[in-house]
C-alpha cells in the first residue's frame, strides 16, 4: 500500500480497539497469575558450601600462587565429581530417591576463582532439599580422599531450612509482568492486523479518497444516539398502551 502511516491514525486504531487490547492483556495476566499461584507447585532452594583445599602445606598455599591456581583448576574436577553417580548413588540410596532426580535438581558452582564450592539443591519440599544438600556434602567429604587423594574438604555451611523460606520458582510476579507485556503486544498486534484487513469505507474522507465523489451527508446509525434510544423507549411504551 502506498499510503503513509499516520501517527494519529495509529492512535485512533489503538483507541478504537482499546477494549480488545485490555481484554487480551487481562486474560493473559489472569491466566499466568492463576497458573503460577495455584497450579505450579513452589520449588524451594537450599545450599551448602564446601571449601576444598589441598592440605600438603598450608603455608605454601599462600606463598605459592601456582598452588592456588592448581586448586582452582581442581575445583572444576570436584564439581564434576559431586554430581557424578559415584557420590549421588550413595546419596540416593540413603534418601530413597532416584539418582537422576537428585542430579537434575542440583547445581554446583564456585564464585570468582574462590576455592569455595556452592552446592544448590532445589525441591518442592525445603526440608528435603536441605537433606539432599547436606547428605551430598557429607558423602562427598567422606569419599573424596579415596577418589582424589585430597583429604581436606571442609563443610563451611550446612544447608538449613529457614523460618520463612520463599520459593525460588515460580516467580508469580515476574510471570504476571511477562504476561502483561506479551498480552499488550498481542493485543496491539491483533488490532493493527484487524485494521489492516478491514477494507471498508468508514469516514467521509475515505469516500472522497476512494470514489472522488462529494459526500452529501452522513447519517448516524438509527438507534445509535442517546436521544434516539430515549425517544424509542417512549415510543414503544406509547404503542403498548395504545
Amino acid at each position: 500500500m502506498e499510503e503513509t502511516i499516520n501517527l494519529r491514525d495509529l492512535m485512533q486504531t489503538l483507541k478504537k480497539r482499546m477494549s480488545l487490547i485490555i481484554l487480551i492483556t487481562l486474560t493473559a495476566v489472569l491466566v499466568s497469575g492463576g497458573v503460577s499461584f495455584f497450579l505450579l507447585t513452589p520449588v524451594y532452594e537450599t545450599s551448602t558450601q564446601l571449601l576444598v583445599n589441598q592440605s600438603k602445606s598450608d603455608q605454601s598455599a599462600y606463598n605459592n600462587p601456582g598452588q592456588i591456581q592448581t586448586n582452582l583448576q581442581l575445583i572444576n574436577t570436584y564439581k564434576e565429581i559431586i554430581t557424578s553417580p559415584v557420590i549421588l548413588d550413595k546419596v540416593s540410596k540413603e534418601l530413597n530417591m532416584k539418582t537422576s532426580d537428585i542430579q537434575s535438581n542440583m547445581t554446583v558452582s564456585n564464585q570468582n576463582d574462590s576455592q569455595v564450592v556452592k552446592l544448590v539443591v532445589q525441591d518442592t519440599d525445603p526440608a528435603k532439599a536441605a537433606k539432599i544438600a547436606n547428605e551430598t556434602a557429607d558423602v562427598f567429604q567422606k569419599d573424596i580422599p579415596d577418589i582424589m587423594n585430597v583429604d581436606n574438604v571442609t563443610i563451611l555451611t550446612k544447608a538449613e531450612v529457614g523460618e520463612k523460606l520463599s520459593p525460588v520458582k515460580p516467580k508469580p510476579l515476574l510471570n504476571v509482568v511477562i504476561a502483561l507485556v506479551v498480552g499488550l503486544m498481542i493485543g496491539v498486534g491483533i488490532s493493527f492486523l484487524l485494521e489492516f484487513l478491514d477494507n471498508t469505507i468508514k469516514t467521509e474522507q475515505d469516500v472522497e479518497k476512494v470514489l472522488d465523489v462529494p459526500v452529501l451527508g452522513s447519517v448516524a446509525r438509527i438507534g445509535d444516539t442517546k436521544a434516539e434510544k430515549k425517544s424509542r423507549s417512549t415510543e414503544e411504551r406509547g404503542e403498548r398502551i395504545g
Partner: protein, 235 residues
Amino acid sequence: MGSKKSKKLKQIMMSTRRKLIAHDNPQSPISEQYKTVRTSINFSSVDQQIRSIVVTSSGPGEGKSTTAANLAVVFAQEGKNVLLVDGDMRKPTSHYTFNVNNTFGLTSTLSRQKALREVVHQTDIKNLDLLTCGPIPPNPAELLSSRSMEELLKDIYQDYDMVVFDTPPLLAVTDAQVLSNKCDGTVLVLSSGTTEVDSAKKAKELLDTTKGKLLGVILNNREMKDTSYYYYGKN
C-alpha cells in the same frame, strides 16, 4: 394465520415503521442529518433543478429504503410535493414502512393496467405520496427501461415537484443503472464500516457507464462520537 407468523410480521412493521425517523422525530440529530443531505442535493446542481433522484447502493442492506423514505419525508417537509416510488421490484419494502397494501403499484401502471392516480397512496405525511411496487414482475429491468416508464415519469413530473426512487443494489441487478439513466440524479448510499472499498468503486463505475449523474454519497450508519454535536438535538 399462525401467531408466530403474525408476530414476526408485526416485528417487521414495527422495525420499519421506526425507520421513518424524519417524520417520527423531526428534532432528532438524525433527522437533521437527512435535512443536511436534502440541502446538499438542492445545491448540487446549479443549472437544472433536480426533480428525480435514484437512491441506490452497492450491496443489499446498506440502508437504501430507509434513506429513500426519509429523504422523501424531508423533501416533503420542505413544502415540495413528493412522490416516493418503490423501484425495488425484487424485494419491495415501502408498503411495510408506510403500512399500506401492495396490491397495485408501479408495476400496475407500467403494464398499463392502472393509471398513476389510481395506485398512488396518500400517506399520513403532508405532501408525501407513495407509489408501492405492486405485484412482483418477472422482468423488472425491462419494465424500468420501457417507454411506459418514460411516460410515467412525465406523468409524475406533472403532479409532483420531486420523485424519489428506491432501487435494488447496483452490484446485484441492473435496475438501478436503468433508472439512474432516466432520472436527474443518483445518490449512492454507503454503509460506514460495511461497504467495502472495492464494491463502492465498482458501483460508481456501473453508474458512470450508464451516464447516471451521481450527485454524491450518503454515508450511512456512521459512527457518531458523543460530542457537543447533540446540542441541537432536542428530544
